[in-house]
Symmetry: C2
Subunit: 363 residues, 2 copies
């Protein structure tokens, strides 16, 4: 009944007001070349008609789509919601839309995904890269979200510091025998987190590291991690590099009759949605994705504005541009502090040696 009248266009409001399209455009863009009085009338009329400029027209003319591409290693990744949400907001605040792409596992698909995004005319790309990605080969402005150990333009959480946080927390609770649980020793993120933990675990605390992929390579996918035995051997704290692994540890321990946090503590990383939905709720480390996303988008828009739009006649070629037209940008390296979230899976080290039930009739 209401709504959905035909979308008004610039020229309509121009003729309605008896002015030129140029004036309307300038007024709406706030380019100041218009009398305040005229500008006001134009803005009023535009608002009245619910005018929104056509992206297509503007994009064609300016060479800018006002759209960013978001490339992720694997959309199915449980961290994806947090990242996508944060990027979407940051981008939206900066006047950009977000087009998604999925690397679907391999670097080849990632390359294709990036190309597709470019074919669709994105102004820049936010990427959480797969191992082995050559960022430099991407012909668009790029912001990388990874770990501070990644070279190049990067924004990320300070995973190392996050590691220190958990380890210190466990130390403070009296734990002196810990198992650090990771998945893959070649991940920068995981290595940083573990490295941070290790850096705190000096002196009289002992620890070892369990890499799940290695373990599964030997015992089969989805196998038991043998945490109950570890507990019986005296480990009182299990510190995983991700909530996913913490969940695995928690359920394995609980299923084996090891009580958390009474008999052993478990901690994770990432603060995934379900981490409060479990009993006991998971102690974890939270990354401030909102800030990370803002910084990534800010870095990206800076790059975009520095680079001349591709499809524009370059009247006077800038002094500070390389032959490819890419500005000589200094690499951004930002890292955002992580925050420890105290919940119920971590508690004081048991005073008396833990009594772990023996055998255990697992099916």
């Amino acid at each position: 009944m209401s709504a959905s009248r035909q979308r008004p266009k610039l020229t309509q409001i121009a003729t309605l007001l008896g002015v030129s399209a140029a004036t309307v455009s300038n007024a709406l863009a706030g380019k100041g070349r218009v009398s305040e009085e005229m500008a006001e009338r134009i803005r009023a009329k535009a608002a009245e008609l619910g005018y929104m400029p056509s992206q297509a027209g503007r994009a064609l003319r300016t060479g800018r789509s006002q759209v960013l591409g978001l490339v992720l290693p694997n959309i199915a990744n449980p961290l994806f919601p947090q990242i996508a949400q944060a990027i979407e907001h940051a981008a939206s605040d900066a006047g950009y839309g977000v087009l998604i792409a999925d690397s679907r596992g391999d670097v080849a698909t990632q390359t294709r995904a990036i190309e597709q995004l470019q074919d669709r005319g994105v102004d820049g790309i936010v990427i959480v890269p797969r191992r082995g990605t050559r960022i430099a080969d991407i012909g668009s402005p790029v912001a990388v979200i990874d770990s501070p150990s990644t070279p190049g333009n990067t924004v990320s959480a300070d995973h190392w510091q996050g590691g220190r946080l958990v380890a210190q927390h466990l130390l403070d609770l009296g734990h002196r025998n810990l198992l650090l649980i990771g998945n893959n020793p070649v991940s920068n993120v995981q290595n940083d987190r573990i490295g941070g933990m290790k850096s705190v675990l000096t002196g009289n605390a002992q620890f070892s590291v369990l890499w799940i992929e290695d373990h599964e390579a030997r015992h089969g996918k989805g196998c038991i991690l043998g945490l109950k035995e570890k507990a019986r051997e005296g480990v009182t704290a299990f510190a995983a590099v991700s909530d996913l692994h913490a969940l695995r540890a928690l359920t394995e321990l609980q299923g084996a009759g090891v009580r958390v946090p009474d008999d052993a503590s478990v901690t994770g990383f990432d603060d995934l949605t379900w981490s409060t939905a479990i009993t006991p709720a998971l102690t974890t480390v939270h990354m401030d994705m909102a800030t990370i996303a803002e910084q990534a988008v800010a870095a990206l828009t800076a790059l975009i504005e520095a680079a001349p739009p591709v499809s524009q006649k370059r009247e006077h070629v800038g002094h500070l541009t390389t032959q490819t037209g890419k500005p000589v940008a200094t690499a951004t390296q930002k890292s955002v502090p992580m925050e420890l979230i105290l919940r119920q899976t971590s508690g004081p080290v048991p005073s008396k040696p833990t009594e772990i039930p023996p055998a255990g009739e697992k099916q």
Copy 2:
């Protein structure tokens, strides 16, 4: 070093070959108005230069952006990765990009999100709507992913049938006393799932329903669900309408010394990523998001093609269009069967009455 030459444009390949832009355009579009020989040369040259048409130019001319909007109630939803991934692929296969938007909780934000998408010129919208959304008010082609109980153009999993699947499974295992766990009684999806379960639980099986929101309203957010007591009262199977609630049940039971699946069975819904990462792995019901997404995108592209592009001069106004230019579309109502995934949290009902440890020193 290589790559990133200036993007070639249509006219470049035209002049290079000494033909008109029109011919190049026709050849590339396969419009047949070009000799096969010429077409071949043109295609070859285009491939050689890595030509990709400018979306902006094409969009401006055709009135079509080849982009779909994806609107979700809450990007942070754990189901989002599955949905986004599936939609992205289906859309990509159909030649569309996907722009994301976040409803961030309320209907008002959802409305704004939809408007933003429209301002960015999307050709259509895939929406997983919030309660109370008036789909009819959206001025663009829309495909809705929800439950079959939702009126209008809808594609969805057959949640009711999924419910039957789990309930029958538990019945087959000998369970006769079940607790169905839901969150919110006003959700169509959850009601369908529970309804399906109930429809199977006739005869000598007894059950009751626990709505978590109600329970939390009385006992506080994040409270204990009291499942151990239920178990002691004779419940042997806990069937949740989502993996999230199943996880909550599982950890609560495990933490209270109730062994799963030996003492009690637990089942979920959705097959979230972590459902194999827990011990024991979760028995759940999987939705075929790939198929759902394909159907949603297919329905959407059909609508898009039926509707005349907004910004086009409508030479001869079609016979079968309403005054708003929207085609009189018959409502699509498709539902995709769900699949039971047997894993370790469900097992035969215990032969002897379960011995649940009493007290329980929860912290």
